[in-house]
């Protein structure tokens, strides 16, 4: 499993050229084709009373995006890479999914697009919608908020947050496939406080032992590919502990497997992937299970 073709989705507000450049390490994993996508929201050029369809506005917005993409594409072409661009009017999620499928990309990269609270309650965040609707890994790239700068090598030292789901196992394989890019992986499992409330210390130790054994199996897959891997067990709130572990271990990004599905409760409170996408300061990569 490698990444040959990547869809880079941007509104030019949340992801800039340096974000694209930071992903060029993926060339060592086979990346040779970047497809740019900018979606102009239909509402921006929609029919307005007394004005009709804003064709001039559409042309202007498309040309502004085109100028940017030409500049970015020139940089990729000069490195001997392939580049393409889509500038389309429509709705962000369906356009992103359709173009990712049509282009046959191996990875979707986007920034975090926040919707209104009411919309999110009913529809989930856009990121979760995309994750739910695609079989492709989705990376939510972020500027590290402390410095205001992008991490120049986000794939170098990822934290891999695992449960024992099929999506987690797929995430391990995905990272193993990036052996020329990833140098070191911190495999982290977070057990809830509830799960360690046993009658004796033996119960807690049993959970620790079982978790470490499972993580050790995952680490072995990574080590077999020449990737340094360490396992760590944390206990507490999943999102808080993942974020804490990423900070402690100086991770460059967070990787997690996810089906993208959310229960009704999670729609209100936020599932782990959704909270990571929304709140984490780290770039987050979500890997779906096999179809």
């Amino acid at each position: 499993m490698g990444i040959r073709k990547m869809l880079f989705v941007t509104e030019f507000e949340e992801l800039w050229f340096d974000a694209l450049q930071s992903l060029m390490d993926l060339r060592k994993a086979g990346l040779n084709h970047v497809v740019f996508l900018h979606v102009i929201d239909r509402d921006e050029v929609a029919m307005h009373r007394g004005k009709g369809y804003l064709k001039d506005e559409e042309i202007k917005l498309k040309e502004i995006a085109n100028v940017r993409f030409i500049d970015w594409a020139e940089s990729l072409f000069e490195q001997g890479m392939e580049a393409g661009a889509h500038i389309v009017v429509g709705k962000f999620i369906p356009k992103t999914i359709d173009i990712a499928e049509d282009e046959g990309v191996d990875l979707i990269v986007t920034g975090y697009h926040k919707q209104g609270r009411v919309q999110e309650l009913y529809a989930g965040s856009q990121i979760m919608e995309i994750i739910r609707s695609t079989s492709k890994p989705v990376m939510v790239h972020k500027y590290m908020l402390d410095s205001g700068k992008i991490n120049e090598h986000p794939f170098e030292k990822p934290l891999l947050a695992v449960d024992w789901s099929p999506a987690s196992k797929k995430a391990v394989k995905f990272i193993a496939g990036l052996k020329n890019v990833v140098k070191e992986v911190q495999v982290v499992h977070v057990a809830s406080e509830k799960s360690v409330k046993g009658d004796s210390a033996m119960d807690v130790q049993k959970i620790r032992k079982e978790s470490r054994q499972k993580m050790e199996e995952m680490c072995a897959i990574l080590r077999a590919e020449g990737i340094k891997a360490e396992e760590h067990l944390y206990i507490g709130n999943t999102v808080e502990q993942i974020e804490k572990a990423a900070h402690e271990r100086q991770a460059t990004m967070i990787v997690a497997g996810t089906s993208g599905r959310e229960s009704l409760k999670e729609k209100f409170l936020g599932s782990v992937p959704r909270q990571l996408a929304e709140k984490s300061v780290y770039p987050t990569l979500f890997v779906p299970p096999d179809e």
């Binding site: 497809v35 594409a73 020139e74 072409f77 000069e78 392939e82 580049a83 393409g84 661009a85 889509h86």
Partner: protein, 130 residues
């Protein structure tokens, strides 16, 4: 019998503009929206000239141009590049691909950076369509 000119460009407005120029000068237009479609049209339409954009979905003009010029059946079809990508970058990218193990390819017959005036385009088309 009029000559066929293949236009490969993903921009519908550009296609409308260039097709008008092609027709007004007595040629028959063929159209494709990206490099993949373009190669198929070359195989099926036997064009006498190709007008090629560079930055397109699915397959860029850089890759399509390389496919054309390294294919014995198509390498003699004249190509006009019509693009927002600069000629310097286009040529540099071809050099880079050659360095990565590809074959050396010649420069295109003409390179026009968008936008183009209809008279200029018509003049260049006529120069290369024998």
């Amino acid at each position: 019998m009029s000559k066929n000119i293949l236009l490969v460009d993903d921009d519908a407005d550009i296609r409308t503009f260039v097709v008008t120029v092609i027709k007004e000068n007595g040629f028959t237009p063929l159209m494709a929206k990206n490099g993949e479609e373009g190669i198929e049209k070359v195989k099926s339409g036997n064009p006498d000239l190709i007008i090629l954009d560079v930055l397109m979905p699915k397959q860029s003009g850089i890759k399509m141009y390389r496919e054309l010029k390294t294919n014995g059946s198509f390498k003699d079809i004249p190509v006009i590049i019509l693009s927002g990508i600069s000629k310097r970058v286009f040529l540099h990218s071809q050099e880079a691909l050659t360095e990565f193990g590809g074959k050396n390819v010649p420069e295109p017959e003409a390179y026009i950076e968008k936008p183009v005036e209809p008279e200029e385009l018509a003049e260049i088309i006529k120069k290369y369509v024998k």
